[in-house]
Symmetry: C2
């Protein structure tokens, strides 16, 4: 089976490596960043360098789209006319509703062979140089097939993720976007915001020099790719906006509690959080 | 040298163990939580169990106050009449201005022998059962002596921290409180708030079930002691309030950017954060 990889970043490069265990024999890759493409080839993640997304689509049995989510509509339009009749398409986007809409609009009849998926894995250091075939071992992959999605296509993509060590959880795309707005997109935005706020202060660098382990954990995700997370925040803005609004309302209360030295309110909020955090069941260990 | 430990939680228990390397031969301890006190004795962290804070003070060459910061004024008033003429007092509070004020008010002439200190170390699992003599190895300890502070007393306390593997950084107490409002107190409040906000949603438990590594890092500090952090937020409310207000103003802008799909503003903010986060010099490794 020949994989066509469009977007050779951390996730795409890691998937191309990890899926070899599931029967991928050859990988043809394209990225508009020529340097990333060369490095992916040098690392042995792709066997053949293509000159365009359409060239990848023409040559592949399965196309993996691993570009920032706002770049997906254009890439889908580029590959649509080039897709062979049996070729499958899948993605790794962190948002699903807008990706599915873009695929439905671009792919026509081939939309039945589009399998929307989201591996819950990553690391804060982006780029193909940090690609790792073990990135998905023990992690979840959410698939969000819709009524039109071909079941055999879905099973084939799921098989590849399982071969990479992941566990599949099917989910409704709208539910997916609400869940990950809360537990992934909002925390990324908050972590970026904290580091940006401190760095913008006149003595920000001095303050950051005293960051301890807690700050480092809290802000580790703020080293993630700005472009990837800009796209995610916009693609999932409806769900993210609701979560952010709810969070800001709580911060308004906490500001009043700090200013008014309202110890009981602070303790109630912190205790509710500590209890919930300590109860987090670990599906990947901590 | 005989150490008197008042407050046998994670930090007090760890310091009592770590300071043995610096010449502490005996430890007498007190905690109003009788069970914690018994466990500290059972773990060998303290040699003698006292019936009160005053009894500890009477018996010690050095008193280490390791209670939540809002409990310090009362404890200082309790020990003041019992302190022998040469006995030193130090603390581990995460805020310094209010602690110094309380010590000045309570200790009278003995205030010269009070050494305000703050070890930048901890873990998210509180309590004496998680005490660890290696907790301070490679970490910073901020000391914030004031004009009245006896230099020999300060040097003696610093020697104990150095023997525990820590590095000393002297700092003005007001500066300390501003720095740690930004890089410690605010992130704790934000992490507690995020977990509390999600847990309070009707489907909060379902959402938390999909928390990935990023969420776990971001919220690890939300498992910290609610009482300790309630006290810190109130004791340092002036500096924390200013940081929180600044942060909320940035979130207002980011909410507008998300709602208005303002990609350039999101990217600029995220890129500034990612650059600053990646540049964090590591004095304790990551």
């Amino acid at each position: 089976m020949k994989l066509g990889l469009i977007g050779v970043g951390l996730i795409g490069g890691s998937a191309a490596a990890a899926w070899r265990a599931g029967g991928i024999r050859q990988v043809i890759g394209y990225d508009r960043d020529a340097q990333a493409l060369r490095r992916a080839h040098a690392h042995g993640l792709i066997d053949t360098v293509a000159a365009s997304a359409a060239e990848v689509a023409r040559a592949a049995d399965l196309v993996l789209l691993a570009v920032p989510v706002l770049a997906l509509p254009e890439v889908l339009r580029e590959i649509a006319p080039a897709l062979p009749a049996q070729t499958l398409v899948t993605d790794v986007g962190s948002t699903k509703v807008s990706v599915i809409e873009a695929a439905r609009a671009a792919l026509g009849a081939a939309f039945a062979r589009f399998v929307p998926a989201h591996p819950i894995a990553g690391r804060e250091l982006p780029g193909v140089d940090h690609a790792d075939p073990q990135l998905f071992a023990g992690k979840l992959v959410i698939t969000t097939p819709v009524a039109e999605t071909d079941r055999a296509a879905c099973a084939r993509v799921e098989h590849l993720w399982i071969s990479a060590g992941a566990r599949i959880v099917p989910m409704d795309p709208h539910e997916h976007d609400r869940v990950f707005a809360a537990v992934s997109h909002l925390p990324h935005l908050l972590a970026f915001a904290l580091v940006a706020a401190i760095a913008a202060e006149p003595d920000g660098a001095h303050k950051l020099g005293f960051a301890g382990a807690g700050f480092r954990d809290f802000t580790r995700i703020a080293a993630s790719s700005p472009e990837v997370w800009r796209d995610i925040c916009i693609a999932n803005r409806t769900a993210l906006s609701a979560e952010l609004r709810r969070y800001r309302a709580l911060l308004d209360h906490l500001q009043a509690a700090v200013d008014g030295a309202d110890a009981p309110l602070l303790e109630r909020t912190f205790a509710a959080a500590a209890a919930a955090r300590r109860q987090l069941t670990t599906w990947e260990g901590e």
